[in-house]
């Protein structure tokens, strides 16, 4: 199976869906002539032309709102936010208009929009560019939220997102863009809302998603080699809808849980997971649910310190040892 990068996997998903459905339009800052701020959309302008691959001004509220309006008339816009951090200037369009228009119209209007872009810290760009808003987004009924960790998942999930009739917010990761993974040449889709057990184990379940899956897998190797601890890693892949059944099945096997997330701790995705796990698998737990999150402060710039503010393999190892102590 060919190895391609996470970036290429997303590009291939876009190209395939642009080819499949003439209503798909890719729109965002620098997506066309510049070939993408992170080169995700490289080559798409040359292949699909300026009607399908559209450069926008730096005007997130304007162009995201335009995409929402166009989607109501049947266009399937795939909007790129150069950083998901910029969602704050388009919050009203994303979370009042896209999220609510179906409901407020009594189900008369669909909003099949995808908003995608990177949402992560770890690149020393400071607090304004390092937001991870998946918890904020997923707090809004009516939306779907996807955070892929591998090239294979990113491609299959993005194709599902573009075909979805509800608004889907797709959160990528600049640090993962260059990571290679096996991706089949034949077409495939991955349904939204389906978790994936990325590593099986028996002593403890790590529930995680996004880049923290990669950290957790590295930590699991260390724990196995150095501590003889067998960790299972469940990658949620989608935050909403949420595949809690896969999480619970793992908890019922290992009886110990550590949640790992690149989130500020207060009211995070992990907070919701912890609530659901204790509510639905209380008798299967042999100890309290543990969590490793971002150190609770705005994202620090200082490069070596930011690494320690975020979850990383070393911090995951320590958190697992603490959970099993």
């Amino acid at each position: 199976m060919p190895q391609i990068t996470y970036r290429e996997a997303i590009r291939h998903a876009l190209a395939e869906e642009l080819t499949r459905d003439p209503n798909v339009v890719v729109m965002g800052e620098e997506v066309a002539q510049f070939n993408g701020a992170y080169k995700v959309t490289e080559g798409l302008l040359a292949k699909f032309g300026p009607d399908r691959i559209v450069d926008t001004p730096i005007s997130e509220a304007g162009f995201i709102g335009l995409g929402v309006g166009a989607s109501m008339l049947g266009i399937r816009p795939v909007m790129e936010l150069m950083f998901w951090s910029f969602y704050s200037v388009a919050f009203d369009q994303i979370l009042n208009n896209a999220a609510n228009v179906r409901y407020m119209s009594g189900g008369q209007i669909n909003c099949p929009i995808v908003i995608r872009g990177p949402a992560n810290g770890g690149t020393n760009v400071g607090a304004t560019h390092s937001h991870t808003p998946e918890n904020v987004l997923a707090n809004h009924p009516g939306v779907k939220v996807v955070v892929p960790s591998t090239a294979y998942d990113a491609k299959g999930l993005l194709k599902s997102a573009i075909r979805d009739n509800d608004p889907v917010f797709f959160l990528e990761n600049t640090i993962l863009y260059g990571d290679k993974g096996e991706v089949p040449e034949a077409e495939y889709v991955i349904p939204l809302g389906k978790a994936d057990v990325k590593r099986t184990g028996t002593d403890l379940t790590i529930v995680t998603y996004g880049r923290c899956v990669i950290h957790s897998l590295k930590a699991a190797e260390t724990l196995e080699k150095e501590h003889d601890i067998s960790v299972e890693v469940v990658d949620l892949r989608t935050i909403r809808p949420l595949d809690i059944d896969t999480v619970l099945a793992s908890v019922r096997k290992t009886h110990r849980v550590l949640i790992v997330e690149e989130q500020k701790p207060f009211a995070s995705v992990g907070t919701q997971l912890a609530y659901m796990i204790q509510r639905e698998a209380f008798d299967d737990l042999d100890g309290p649910i543990h969590r490793l999150a971002t150190v609770d402060a705005p994202a620090i710039y200082s490069p070596p310190v930011e690494t320690e503010q975020l979850p990383n393999p070393g911090r995951v190892v320590k958190a697992v040892l603490a959970a099993l102590a």
């Binding site: 304007g62 162009f63 309006g69 109501m72 119209s105 009516g142």
Partner: protein, 371 residues
Amino acid sequence: MSKKPSAPAAKKVESAVPASDYALTPINASLSREQKIDLYRTMVRIRRFEERSLRAYQGKNAAGGTNIGGFLHLYIGQEAVAVGCCSLMGKNDHVITAYRDHGHAIAVGMDTKPLMAELYGKITGCSKGKGGSMHYFAPDKNFWGGHGIVGGQIPLGTGLAYALKYQGKKGAAMAFMGDGAVNQGAVHEAYNLASLWNLPVVFVIENNGYSMGTSQARSSAGELAKRAAGYNMEWGQCNGHDVFEVRAVMDHFLTQARENSRPSTVEIDTYRYRGHSVADPDNTYRTKAEVEEYRNNKDPIQVALHQLLAAGVFTAEIAEQIDAEARTEAEIAAEFADASPYPTVDDIQKDVYWESDHPAERKSEGRLFFD
């Protein structure tokens, strides 16, 4: 989309027609007698619908509870704007507006029974009791709401125009806003995109002089529509008390949109007799004399009545009959709303996701809703 710089078009379009002669301009002179009467009838129907809704708002139902909750932003006094604009709609023309939306909803042809039922929060409402006064929608009539956040609908309206252009349809979007919305950033972002990309949208500023309780003089620097010139757009102003003038002026800009795919901004002077919403005691920011001046001398229904009587289009008896029918229609709508059931608690989680409403076609897995 064209990436070429847009054509120079930032000029103000001045009408050459004397104010008294708008009924004689081609777009109005071509109307049949019945079409002219319909303009009048629609304005009267909006007025009587809203007056009836106000009585319902202030009254109690048989159980002693409120009929209508939340806000009720009345359009009374502004009827000629929505009626004039929407009367020009062709099959590929679309409308979106803000929260003072009852007039536009009736003007695009929505039935008043589900509109009143929506105010009452009933399942028979146009949005199944889920939207309320500010959130009327009728996509089957090219009406896309009914939006609650000032200016937030303007990028959406621009998106409707984008879709028309992308799909190769010859039509226009009318994106309505109040005078307060011109100070919102989203409006300016939409202006820029519309002009940059040559989108067929007419931005309509319904200038009733007050953004809630703050007068134009206290909220906005310069002429409102003139800001469009900064975005290289045609712009114009018009008297919104005369439905025929509204039609004549808007026809020009809608034609620019449909034929040349150029956006424009039109500021239509109008006035609301009631407060910003029913919750506004309306005694802090304007005088009673000012309201009376508009009510007595510029009322759009009275203006149209005199025009149509003078032109012999109809008689006072027919006008009275239209009014009586509008009152009856509003009463029937209120009775329908009152008699209709509320949504159930089970209905709360319907219409959230397309997928949860179409379980047989669902492709995603996992939980969509949480306890």
